[in-house]
Amino acid sequence: MTSLVFLMMEGFMNLISLFFESLIMVGSGQRTGHSDMSFWQRIQPPEDISEHGHLIEWLFNYTTVLNIFFFALVCAGLFGFSYFYSAKRNTKPYYTYGNKKSHILVATAIGLSVFLAIDMNITRMSNNDYVDVFTNWPDEEKEDVFRVQVMAQQWAWNFRYAGKDGVFNSEDDVVVLNELRVPAGKKIVVQMIAKDVIHSLYLPNARRKVDAIPGRITRIWFILNKPGLYDIACAEMCGTYHYRMQAKLTVYEQSEFNEWMAEAETKAIEENDPENLERYWGWTWQKTTRKEISMK
């Protein structure tokens, strides 16, 4: 019993000391290695390296401005009325059911203004972006796209390039674990499946994610413009080590990429074991064509 009390006391003391430690930590940026960052900088999303990420950010900011306006109205009503019509200041309440014509008009006007000014507005913009960009799949018969297949599994990302012959799931495929390397400025189409449970390919620097699901192929396309090394995460809870399901994204200039790819392709031909059936988790590329798009 005494040891129990002692343990609890110790825990309590720890709590208090941690509180002060964290105060100091916030002040000095200890353990974070980002002591020079302001709060404003901390809450910014990761650097946008994609061609179209700004569309999402722009819509976010636009919605925020409208939201602040309408929430300010709510607060003005809430705090303003609370102040001016408190029992102290206003002893005689105004007896009304709020069913006068003017009352109904005002309430309806507020309802419609929220709907038209924010909702239909952002829905229109979002819909335009969605149709014109994010689901506007590149026509693979006419355009030069860069293709990658992904298989997500507990708790790793497998990436597959078609290799020298340009055919997926063949002997010379380049298969990489937890590293996605792509050329900058090119349309990249990714098709993915999951081996065991649902995962979600999350590219914070491109503002995009799409689920990888067992039994079906999901797709995503994007253009990355800024060479560098970035994070890829799994965004869908996929088990105990979900938080470690991390991959690295390397964006190369086209020339550097060609160099790496040539090397990787040669290595694949030399080292791939064609008898190893486990290598053939890929699939025949599901080509998107204009015709298919218009049918959907």
Partner: protein, 577 residues
């Protein structure tokens, strides 16, 4: 209008017949209240453990960590972390908020406020609570089975929740517990719907019902329609886990089968989206009433509020697809769900306008129930508006499964619903137990909770926008999240503040119930709805004589009243203004 006389049972005399096998809706309400407060405490401690792991990775959890995780020296292990957030969600939704708002206040308020002696089906009412206890027992058992409790999130997406991802029996217990709870809630819902339709006091039309009853009634309708859907989904999951069926298994790799994991998401969210409204509708109704009562004037546009709530009820069934944008629904479905989602803001904005209209030119008294109701207006405003980012598909592509979502849905279904529950507890306390809660401590409780709560959930919006995704044991293995440590620490301290503040409430509540002074005034808030026409605590079978209703529930501040009161009871002839 009561078209049949209710059977009157003799007054229970023994402890068991009075408090355990009771048909009395008031006692069942109290049972649900204790049950829900217990759930709230358990879920709250789990929330603190989750927050602890995020702010101080690798540090032992204080006080109880040493006993719970001796093998790690008090540090929460990653598999336990997954069980914690799964159980936190499950307990808070199904075992805390549902029993408090729907179980406790649904049971307590509906018959009292519509002038009935009891529910339409008292026996079913009792069984509903007993099944809820059984369900909670199953859930508690699941914490102690080998391989631990369910750990696939409260959404339990297959194939993670099938044997592929969760081989332990904990997940099976979870699914069965939810199924049993579904039966319990459906029984309650059928009871509420029938009671409201058949047992309203003579003279009480639907628009003479207090908005609280409207909210509870609409909730019951949604519950009766959609909980069976969840039950079906849970049962199919049990089949997949226990009998080897393949409803949710697909693919040719580790999982093989001819089913579809996305099917479960459809089944889950077709229930899950209405569930949000199931939780919030009673709170909206109560807030609409309480704002009017404490502004001492009739609810502004009460009919419009009721109709707005009704249209939200209908719309809520048509929007669930916005939870599934990232599964790559067909673009046509995506566009449809996005547009339908947005239409919800019309009725929402209308009743927001009505709430503010109620305050406008009122004579506002800031008692604790009123403070909490005003709090609901504030936090639900934030919750509703942040939903817009998630309803639009392109911003959702980035924000989906980040803490932005977590912040948003906690504002709507945790913060608002919690505040609604507290408002209800403080408000109906005298009628339930014949005691008042301490006002001063109530106000301290409100302000500290408000502070902590906004620190937690607004902080979550920030880190979500900064890209931090959900359900991470240690987010800081990612380079792009490392600078978020201080904000996470701040959120955790806010959560600890909020958690500790609830001790004030628990002490206040327990003290009032067991040792509090009896409240002699049967109508301490001076309002005119039917429950305040009878003594406190409400007597056995409520009304000696079934009241006859002659006016609406919000007759306050009529300048032509000559009774010396500033309000009218619903049993009094309406005085023309």
């Amino acid at each position: 209008m009561a078209f049949y006389e209710q059977h009157i049972h003799p007054k229970p005399t023994t402890f068991i017949s009075k408090y355990i096998f009771s048909f009395d809706h008031k006692v069942i309400g109290k049972q649900f209240l204790w049950y829900g407060i217990l759930g709230l405490g358990l879920g709250g401690i789990m929330a603190l453990m989750i927050r602890w792991a995020l702010a101080f990775p690798g540090e032992a959890f204080p006080l109880i960590g040493q006993f719970m995780f001796p093998e790690t020296g008090g540090v929460i292990p990653p598999d336990t972390y997954a069980m914690l957030f799964t159980m936190h969600g499950t307990i808070m939704i199904f075992y805390a908020i549902t029993p408090i708002l729907i179980g406790a206040f649904g049971n307590f308020c509906i018959p009292l406020m519509i002038g009935a002696r009891d529910m339409a089906f008292p026996l079913m009412n009792m069984l509903s609570f007993h099944l809820a206890v059984l369900s909670a027992a199953l859930l508690v058992i699941s914490l102690f089975v080998p391989l631990g409790a369910a750990a696939s999130g409260w959404t339990a997406y297959p194939t993670l929740s099938t044997l592929i991802g969760s081989p332990g029996t904990g997940q099976t217990f979870w699914a069965v517990a939810i199924f049993v709870l579904g039966i319990s809630s459906t029984m309650g819902a059928i009871n509420y719907i029938t009671t409201v339709i058949t047992l309203r006091a003579p003279g009480m039309g639907y628009f003479d019902m207090p908005l609280t009853v409207w909210g509870l009634w609409l909730t019951a309708i949604l519950n009766a329609i959609f909980l069976p859907v969840l039950g079906a989904g849970g049962l199919l999951l049990v089949f997949d886990r226990v009998f080897g069926t393949q409803f949710f298994l697909a693919g040719a790799a580790a999982t093989s089968g001819t089913g579809d994991p996305v099917l479960f998401q459809h089944v889950f969210w077709i229930f899950g989206h209405p569930e949000v409204y199931i939780l919030i509708l009673p709170a909206w109704g109560m807030v609409s009433d309480i704002l009017s009562f404490f502004s001492r004037k009739p609810a502004f546009g009460a009919k419009a509020t009721a109709l707005s709530m009704t249209s939200i009820t209908i719309l809520s069934t048509l929007v669930y697809g916005h939870h599934m944008y990232t599964t790559q629904l067909s673009p046509l479905l995506t566009q449809t769900f996005m547009t339908l989602t947005m239409t919800i803001s019309i009725p929402s904005a209308i009743f927001f306008a009505n709430w503010l209209g109620t305050l406008w030119k009122g004579s506002i008294r800031f008692d604790t129930p009123m403070l909490f109701s005003l709090g609901v207006v504030f936090v639900f405003g934030l919750g509703g508006l942040t939903g817009l980012y998630l309803g639009t598909v392109t911003t959702d592509l980035y924000l989906h499964d980040t803490y932005f979502v977590v912040g948003h849905f906690h504002y709507t279904m945790a913060a608002s619903v919690l505040f609604g529950s507290f408002a209800a507890i403080y408000f109906w306390m005298p009628k339930m137990f014949g005691k008042m809660l301490n006002e001063t401590w109530g106000k301290i409780h409100f302000w500290l909770t408000m502070l902590g709560l906004n620190g937690v959930f607004f902080g979550m919006l920030f880190i979500g926008y900064a890209g931090m995704h959900r359900r991470l044991y240690d987010p800081f293995v990612y380079e792009f999240l490392q600078h978020l440590v201080p904000i996470n620490t701040f959120i955790t301290w806010s959560a600890i503040l909020m958690g500790l503040t609830q001790i004030i409430f628990v002490v206040n509540f327990v003290h009032a119930v067991f040792w509090g002074k009896d409240e002699t005034d049967p109508n301490p808030w001076k309002v005119g709805t039917l429950e305040w026409t009878i003594p406190s605590p409400a007597p056995n079978y409520n009304f000696d004589k079934i009241p006859v209703v002659k006016c609406g529930p919000h007759e306050l501040g009529n300048p032509n009243l000559t009774t010396g009161r500033d309000f009218q009871y619903q049993t009094e002839e309406l005085v023309e203004a």
